[in-house]
Symmetry: C2
């Protein structure tokens, strides 16, 4: 596309591409925008180096003009979008990239990869945090991200970051801690117990190293016997025990009773083992203090991609005037024109609609609400507050506020329609 | 675990960890091992640098002995495993890592991330290639990987590689082409058509640049009109047209008829649009020449992780003698001891069972068949033929041979049991 448009001259037309999801994953009530900070962190490094250019030349991909363009590539346009952490629904214009066709079309795969992955994880994670009772600072039970081993090694780090955006309390992914200052938390695996000649020796080694406040994994052999050993070795200050198999509801009750009977009333119970939002909800009445969530989080709990697309909605014509464009493809039609979006709020400040305007402005159409789009990149410069640890903190704040604003139906795990309708004006 | 085992002294015990999947994704008949080459390519670079060590020190993660160990870390043990591309079933010991506990336990997340991701993609892709008729050299219709934008940006490259292992003919991911010499193939998106003032101008620009042998996307506005324009502009040598929306079966028939009526009998029809193995099978009788597969491939077609685990199965005791170990956790029990595996074959060379032996050897137990485990790393040295472009080629060969050896039931897309049983001896 780059080569042919450079040759036809259309490459230099100013274009706006919009990112949106035509629909949410089946049954989901809302989605969460995530990955924006990661995208912006890498944007300035999105260049074509000698290795890449040599490969293209050697394969005969791209003529001289194309390779020359790539060698000088640096995004110099504008990006506007929903703040990271924001809730979205079908057709929310979550990102808009405005630049020449040549500059903007090269970003498509990168932009979509980051947003589709991270938003899928965040959208699943948000439901898990809700099922766990919401923000831990407001009484929810903490969720800990432990899924690195069940997804691609770099996707794992991004997933840990996305989990932090939607309110996970910590991650086992140390690289996410290093990159974005996310709280980290370690765990002992069954291998640590099996490594030692007896379970007692394993527990003693762990308590000896980390003190009684550590978390002991008690389901390697016999849970009841292990809990007794754990209490005997660590004493009343034992921090927590972890259950990672079997019927967690039944076991949580049994272990709580046993711990209490042994005087360890402040020892917490952490559960893990293929937890998802439904399993977490099913444990709401069980005496559980924290959830370790792995596979189902990092694979998006049934929806591993957010299915966002990157569509050309506006371009210059031959005279330089902006023209809205849209395709008419069966079941994949798009709406032309650069969109404005506000979240329509009722008198109590509760979200009631996603107002999306193309040909006119939202204000002209008589709608008011919370404006959803903010400048992210201006003339190639990434705007402050969007990247690094600060970006994650802002995103987590935005997410909490956006979720609080939603109608109560947002908390339903049962399948249903998006929690607010998208209204095109 | 590292810190506590360094302190207890158990860190230095020689251990074997095994990687296996307890079960296949629901209904799947077999899995495909993939990612081994990627794993081995990165193994020698798996170190802890100044940035990582500083972060750990600053967070207070790891005492001096632990950080000192990490600063000198380099895997020096042995790895044995199924060849990349090999078929696996439940409890196949697809990888064995033997070293000290400290050395081997640090690899867990890395090993599982790579194998779980790449094997999930390969296992889904293998079914798609089968549904498309198998190896293109033997009459199958080529499948092209086009899913980069629907998964994490680095997972995308790994997915393109995994697709090549199971017989995809090409990928749109240029970085996979650069890294592993995988054939690449570009496509024009709807944006290219929308960029130009008319569809004719877009087609003319593409044909002008790439010649008539190019593939024109014909479903931006009206398919019939677009096909007529495409033929008019490119002539009888038009390479292909692509359909990316709507009812592909109906449209493929209509477009074939139209192309033939216009004299373009050699112009091929390429289809894409959320294809998976079932959609590909549904198009078997339609006049389609190639499949572009995206989202459903890179998300594992419903099974985005292979759910492999990394379990300690053998360790030294205090005297240095090897001891098999296993956990007894409810629904997650493991079988102790380092396993041998052969694929049991019948008189016609058809696979009939996965023979897995722990306490004894397969030969002693009276079984014969094709040995499945090969040395991958010896004393920290990666064995030749496993990495880079050569690794992908060998894996693709291994995959073709392994699939050919399976019973016909392997080709069934309907849900069912693993195609061969796992027999423990």
């Amino acid at each position: 596309m780059l080569q042919a448009s450079l040759r036809s001259g259309a490459a230099h037309r100013t274009c706006t591409f919009e990112v949106f999801a035509r629909r949410l994953p089946p049954g989901r009530r809302f989605g969460v925008v995530a990955g924006t900070g990661r995208l912006l962190e890498r944007l300035e490094a999105f260049r074509f180096g000698r290795n890449e250019l040599d490969f293209l030349a050697q394969r005969g991909i791209g003529d001289d003009a194309t390779l020359d363009f790539l060698s000088r590539y640096r995004f110099g346009g504008d990006i506007t979008g929903y703040a990271e952490g924001e809730v979205y629904v079908p057709n929310s214009p979550v990102l808009q990239v405005t630049s020449t066709f040549a500059e903007a079309c090269l970003l498509e795969t990168f932009v979509l990869s980051v947003l589709n992955h991270d938003s899928a994880i965040a959208s699943a994670g948000a439901r898990m945090v809700m099922a766990a009772g919401g923000d831990p600072d407001a009484g929810g039970r903490p969720c800990v991200e432990m899924g690195s081993r069940r997804t691609h090694e770099f996707a794992a780090t991004a997933a840990a970051r996305a989990a932090a955006v939607v309110g996970f309390a910590a991650t086992s992914n140390l690289e996410a801690g290093r990159s974005w200052d996310v709280p980290t938390l370690g765990t002992a695996a069954h291998a640590f117990t099996l490594l030692h000649d007896t379970e007692e020796e394993a527990f003693a080694a762990q308590v000896d190293t980390f003190g009684p406040g550590t978390t002991l994994l008690v389901d390697t052999y016999d849970v009841e016997a292990a809990v007794r050993k754990a209490v005997e070795i660590a004493g009343p200050a034992l921090g927590a025990v972890r259950l990672d198999s079997g019927d967690l509801v039944v076991q949580a009750h049994e272990v709580r009773k046993l711990l209490d009977s042994l005087g360890n009333t402040s020892t917490r119970i952490i559960v893990s083992s293929d937890l998802d939002e439904y399993a977490i909800a099913g444990l709401a009445a069980a005496p559980v203090d924290a959830y370790g969530v792995g596979t189902r989080l990092v694979t998006g709990s049934g929806a591993p991609t957010a299915s966002m697309v990157y569509k050309l909605v506006q371009r210059q014509d031959g005279t330089g005037a902006p023209v809205p464009v849209e395709k008419a493809s069966q079941n994949k039609a798009s709406a032309g024109g650069r969109k404005q979006a506000v979240r329509g709020l009722d008198h109590d400040g509760r979200a009631e609609a996603e107002i999306v305007a193309a040909e006119t402005t939202v204000v002209e159409a008589g709608y008011t609400g919370r404006e959803l789009q903010i400048p992210l990149v201006i003339g190639g410069s990434v705007q402050p507050g969007t990247t690094g640890p600060e970006g994650v903190q802002h995103a987590a704040q935005r997410h909490r506020a956006s979720v609080e604003e939603l109608p109560p139906a947002a908390h339903r795990l049962s399948e249903g329609e998006p929690v607010i309708p998208t209204v095109f004006v």
